[in-house]
Subunit: 390 residues, 2 copies
């Protein structure tokens, strides 16, 4: 019996992935670039236990038995295939590639918040499976088969997902651009927005964009390659202003393409757009690009900024987006209190309370890691979920 527990991070794209050229293999129409967030604030946790005694594969999600989705099955199959290749001709071959697996997974943040939980989840699953089945080498292409953007959560720091050119997807992998230590001053604020509108799933939205948008292909072939080179350079040179501007422009273009989709896929709401206005106003007042926003397939904003600006920015956000209840409004890395300068004149507009649910303060972090503490396992000795105690 082998048991492995791993943590894996969320990643936030700054050059967006939108549109597949192969639905089955999850091959994208353009490269994308992301920042991996620290697992100290947000993570997925997965325990994989494999045993010759298990009768079948079982999946538990938040400690409840859950059906094995086709995507999870694809990842398992691919890991077993690699394990089997590894074992060929080896002595002491116990045939572990045939052992069944019990998998238990959860996130420490609400799945419903639309915070890229599937990317952390599949990166964690694949990392834990690879360790359990003793598979080495690139795992990003296996994570990609679970959920495209999950391949970027396999590394820390800044990561590039190469679209690749091969039909079988073998070169559609993620690579690390720079480790988290390269740019330690970067901070991230996640603004979780209250939202009532019904959602368009990102998978179906993306598919509809490929089928109907007359702008998507132009973006993928003419805009993204240029932006990718520019932002790579900005990341390498710690050029925050260029990094921030490209990040904002690429977020805008993702949502632009979604609106050009038929029927349109609308992810940002009035609060999201108010955040965009706030960021541009703040940068204008400061006379330089201090703050960047990016939005994925939901209304929540992810802001990039530098450590030295966090206290002022958070104080400003609290003023423009007052909470219903101060308690637990700012989560994650502690933010120093700051009294705003009187001459920081903010854009007026309705100071309605409760437009944001809460804010998470985090930073760039490392890729998936194994937890060696047996207490951390989500499964007990029999392969069933432990009772939740916390």
């Amino acid at each position: 019996m082998i048991v492995v527990t791993c943590l894996a991070p969320v990643n936030i794209a700054v050059i967006k992935y939108w549109g597949k050229r192969d639905e089955q293999l999850i091959l994208p129409i353009n490269d994308s670039i992301s920042a991996t967030l620290s697992t100290d604030q947000m993570n997925a946790k997965t325990t994989v236990m494999i045993s010759p005694n298990f009768e079948k594969d079982l999946l538990f999600f938040f400690r409840e038995e859950s059906c094995m989705s086709p995507r999870v099955q694809v990842c398992l199959k691919e890991i077993r295939k690699r394990a089997s290749e590894n074992l060929k001709g080896k002595k002491n071959n116990q045939g572990i590639d045939l052992w069944k697996a019990h998998i238990c997974s959860e996130n420490n943040f609400p799945t419903a918040a639309g915070l890229a939980s599937s990317s952390a989840g599949y990166a964690c699953l694949v990392t834990a499976l690879a360790k359990a089945y003793n598979v080495e080498g690139d795992c990003s292409s296996i994570a990609r088969l679970g959920s495209g953007s999950a391949c970027r959560s396999v590394f820390g720091g800044f990561v590039r997902w190469h679209k690749g050119n091969q039909g079988d997807g073998s070169d559609s992998i993620a690579t690390q651009i720079v480790p988290a230590s390269h740019w330690p001053s970067i901070r991230i604020l996640i603004l979780v927005v209250n939202d009532a509108r019904k959602k368009v799933g990102s998978t179906s939205g993306m598919q509809r964009s490929v089928e109907t948008s007359q702008l998507l292909q132009h973006r993928a072939s003419h805009v993204v390659p240029q932006r990718t080179e520019q932002i790579l350079k900005a990341i390498k040179n710690h050029d925050f202003e260029t990094f921030a501007e490209i990040t904002m422009k690429d977020s805008n273009q993702l949502h632009s393409v979604c609106l050009d989709t038929y029927p349109p896929a609308v992810y940002m709401n009035d609060v999201s757009h108010t955040i965009v206005e706030f960021v541009h106003s703040y940068n204008k007042i400061k006379g330089t690009t201090k703050l960047a926003y990016t939005f994925d397939a939901g209304p929540n904003a992810c802001l990039f900024l530098q450590e030295e600006d966090v206290a002022e920015v958070v104080a400003t956000i609290k003023q423009v987006f007052p909470p219903t209840n101060e308690n637990n409004y700012i989560r994650g890395i502690k933010v120093p209190e700051k009294i705003l300068d009187k001459d920081l004149v903010l854009p007026s507009g309705p100071q309605e309370v409760g437009r944001l649910r809460y804010i998470i303060h985090t930073k760039i972090g490392e890729g998936p890691s194994e937890i060696n503490d047996p207490e951390a396992h989500l499964l007990d000795q029999t392969g069933l979920p432990k009772q939740k105690t916390d």
Copy 2:
């Protein structure tokens, strides 16, 4: 002394104008197509009085003296130039091209509602000036100098504004595609949305799009020419479904390009997007495209539909967008009462009251016209605004 009073219509673009290649001459980067709305419901009204005794040009807006904007001056200058060319070498040349003008203009709908008031206003101004100074021939290029889309309000029915190719703008004119009588079953519902967010002006938004959007040029050169040909054919063939689909797609693409602008120009709000969802749901339930939306540089929707569907659509809208006050909620052409079929299951969602201010029901109409009744003049014998009595 010569006095002329004219009415001119609003027009609603179905292939959108967005982006100038020449800011001064107002030359667009693509052709656009619009429907001219009946002046029975919405119109601009302008009285022009010219006299050898007037000392200077004066402009009154809603009967209040207003400063002569550069755009009004450009129109006046162009009309006088043509008048002077006309008069050259003629007998009885009184030199009326040198007479000063008093101009009084108003709309019968709120300017603030963002309902293309400037297009009706400049079309009316130019028509009245042309009649007063006895100028004949195409006036659309003069109206264009006032406000680009005003050139399309110079004709009734469906109208095409040709972008033209000449540097001096001489071929950037409007022409009628078909008169209003060609497709009499078309009806229009204008949904005036409650909005609190601050606005980006359409002139500055458009300019910013030209400067920053990486998708706008592709739209103008690759998407619009194709759509223009398709919608021209649909209009000529009374093909409502094709007309409706292209109209919706082109509205979406306008707002898509606005979002790809940096900083983004956002005109639609959550209520606008709820209207979009409503239209797609309604069409889905009906199994055919009964309803089309289009949005300009503001949150208000303009819906196209056929006369036979008006009663049901209005009853449905009243249910999904209940008014704060039933009184005066539906304006314009009378809508028959209709009790909704029980099996018309509408998309759920918040049935919040007051999201729409009111609805105007109108149809396709004729171009500008002169009113021969002296009572209709907005200026008295001395050239000053009459007191408002209604």
